[in-house]
C-alpha cells in the first residue's frame, strides 16, 4: 500500500498545489522553511549594499529610484517571512525568532550581499545582474508546488520588473558615457561576474536541492538556471563594449550550452556559511543595530496589541458604560 508520504509525492509530481494547512511530510515543510527563510532574509540583507548608495546617487531621480527599490526589497522580505512564519507554526517559531536567526548565524543569505559595492557602477550592476539573476530564479519558482510561495512570487516578480529596468538604465548610461564611466562599469562587471557564477549554486546539486526538485518546490537545476543567466546576460554585457572576466566563456554552437570558469566555490561557500565576506560583519552590524535599536518599538507594539485585545474582549461600549 502507498504510504501517506508517497501519496503526497505523487500529488505534487502530478502538478497539484499545496496550501499551508494541508498535511505535508516534515521533510517538505522543512525544505520550504529553509528555502523561504533564506529567500526572505536575502531580500532584507540585499537592501544594505544599495543603501550605501542612496546618499551618493548622482541625480535626484536615481536617488528616488534606488530608494524605491530598497523599499520593495524590504517589502519582499516581509512577504516571504510571513510565509516562513506560517510554516514554522508547528515549531512555535515566529518573526522574532526568524529575524534573530540571521544575527546568530542560523540562516544564510546570498553570497552577493556579503561583497563590496565600492562604486556607483556597482549599484547599477547589482540591479542589472543580481536582480537579473534573482528574477530568473524567481520566475522559475512561480511554478512551485507550494501555492502560497507561487502566489507571493507573482507579486514580487511584478515589482522586480522595475528593478530590472532601473539596473539596466544605470548600466546603459555608464556604457554610453565618458571613458572614466566605462572603466567604472568594467570594474564592477569584473567584481560581480564570478559572484554571479556562484549565485546559482554548485554544478552538482546538494541532497536538499535535489529533494526540492523531487517535491517540485523548484523546477530547474542550478546548472539550468546558470545557463539561462549566461545566455541572457553575456551577449548583452559584450554588446556594451565591456569584457567578461572569463577567458573560458564560450557557447557551444551545437548544444547552445555555455562553458565557463568555475568560481572559487570554496571561498564563496566559506563566506556564506561563516558570514566571512568583506562586508558581512558591517552589514550584519547594521542589521543588529536596527533589530536591537527598535526592540522598544516592537515591545510597545505588543503592549498595545494586548491592550486592544482586552478592550475588544470587554466591548468598548461596556467600558464606557462603566464610566
Amino acid at each position: 500500500m502507498q504510504s501517506r508520504e508517497e501519496a503526497f509525492m505523487a500529488r505534487v509530481q502530478s502538478g497539484e498545489k499545496v496550501e499551508v494547512m494541508d498535511w505535508m511530510p516534515d521533510e517538505y515543510r522543512n525544505l520550504l522553511i529553509k528555502q523561504i527563510h533564506m529567500h526572505g532574509i536575502s531580500e532584507v540583507m540585499g537592501a544594505y549594499p544599495e543603501r550605501e548608495w542612496v546618499m551618493k546617487a548622482p541625480t535626484i531621480r536615481r536617488k528616488l529610484a534606488l530608494n524605491a527599490k530598497i523599499q520593495d526589497e524590504i517589502g519582499h522580505g516581509q512577504m516571504l517571512l510571513r510565509l516562513a512564519e506560517d510554516l514554522s507554526q508547528p515549531y512555535g517559531r515566529g518573526r522574532e525568532d526568524l529575524m534573530d536567526d540571521v544575527l546568530d548565524g542560523r540562516v544564510k543569505f546570498h553570497n552577493v550581499f556579503h561583497l563590496e559595492a565600492p562604486t556607483w557602477a556597482d549599484a547599477g550592476v547589482i540591479g542589472f545582474l543580481v536582480d537579473g539573476g534573482a528574477i530568473i530564479t524567481q520566475a522559475m519558482l512561480l511554478g512551485s508546488s507550494y501555492a502560497p510561495y507561487g502566489r507571493m512570487l507573482k507579486r514580487i516578480v511584478a515589482e522586480e520588473s522595475f528593478h530590472m529596468q532601473h539596473g539596466e538604465s544605470v548600466v546603459l548610461a555608464l556604457a554610453a558615457g565618458t571613458p572614466a564611466q566605462k572603466a567604472m562599469l568594467q570594474g564592477a562587471i569584473d567584481r560581480w561576474w564570478p559572484a554571479m557564477m556562484f549565485f546559482f549554486g554548485p554544478r552538482e546539486m546538494g541532497a536538499s536541492s535535489r529533494r526540492m526538485l523531487d517535491y517540485r518546490i523548484r523546477t530547474m537545476t542550478n546548472e539550468e538556471l546558470r545557463q539561462k543567466f549566461i545566455n541572457r546576460y553575456a551577449p548583452r554585457i559584450q554588446a556594451l563594449g565591456v569584457s567578461i572576466p572569463d577567458p573560458a566563456l564560450k557557447q557551444d554552437p551545437a548544444t547552445g550550452q555555455w562553458s565557463y570558469t568555475d568560481p572559487d566555490w570554496d571561498w564563496f561557500s566559506y563566506v556564506v556559511h561563516h558570514n566571512a565576506g568583506p562586508r558581512s560583519a558591517d552589514r550584519l552590524g547594521l542589521r543588529r543595530e536596527a533589530h536591537d535599536g527598535l526592540r522598544w518599538a516592537r515591545e510597545a507594539s505588543l503592549q498595545a496589541a494586548r491592550h486592544f485585545a482586552k478592550e475588544a474582549d470587554h466591548g468598548i461600549s461596556a467600558g464606557y458604560a462603566g464610566l
Binding site: 528574477i135 502566489r151 507573482k154 520588473s161 529596468q165 539596466e168 554610453a176 523546477t219 554588446a239 563594449g241
Partner: protein
C-alpha cells in the same frame, strides 16, 4: 439585553485557482462561519467552481476609507518606481543588443518547465 433580530454578516472572498488571489464577491448572513460557507456556496457559486472560499466576520474588517490618512493615494509622480519610467530600448539598440522585459523572462522559464514534465 435585547436579542439581535438578524444573524451576523460575513464577507465572502473567493479564489478561482491555486495561483490566483482571493477576491471579494459579496456577503451573507449566517449563524456560524461554517453556515456562512454554506450560504456563500448557495449565493455565489451556483455555476462556477472555486479553489477556495473565505468567510470573514464583517466586524473583523477595518476599512482604510474610514481612516483617510492611511488610504493609499498616489498624488505625486512615481514613474521612477515603474518599469515604464525607463526607456532602455533605444540604448540597447544603439549597442546592437536586444532590450528585454520581465514578461519575456517569465515566459521563457515557464516554457522550460512544460518541456520537462
Amino acid at each position: 439585553m435585547e436579542f439581535p433580530r438578524d444573524t451576523p454578516v460575513y464577507e465572502v472572498f473567493a479564489q478561482r485557482e491555486a495561483l490566483s488571489f482571493p477576491t471579494h464577491v459579496g456577503s451573507v448572513r449566517a449563524s456560524s462561519p461554517e453556515m456562512a460557507l454554506q450560504m456563500a456556496r448557495e449565493a455565489y457559486f451556483r455555476r462556477e467552481a472555486a479553489y477556495d472560499v473565505w468567510v470573514v466576520p464583517e466586524s473583523a474588517i477595518t476599512r482604510a476609507r474610514e481612516y483617510p490618512e492611511v488610504l493609499p493615494v498616489a498624488p505625486e509622480e512615481k514613474t521612477y518606481r515603474l518599469p515604464g519610467g525607463y526607456d532602455n530600448a533605444p540604448l540597447w539598440k544603439r549597442f546592437k543588443a536586444e532590450a528585454q522585459t520581465i514578461e519575456q523572462v517569465a515566459e521563457e522559464m515557464a516554457a522550460k518547465k512544460e518541456g520537462r514534465s
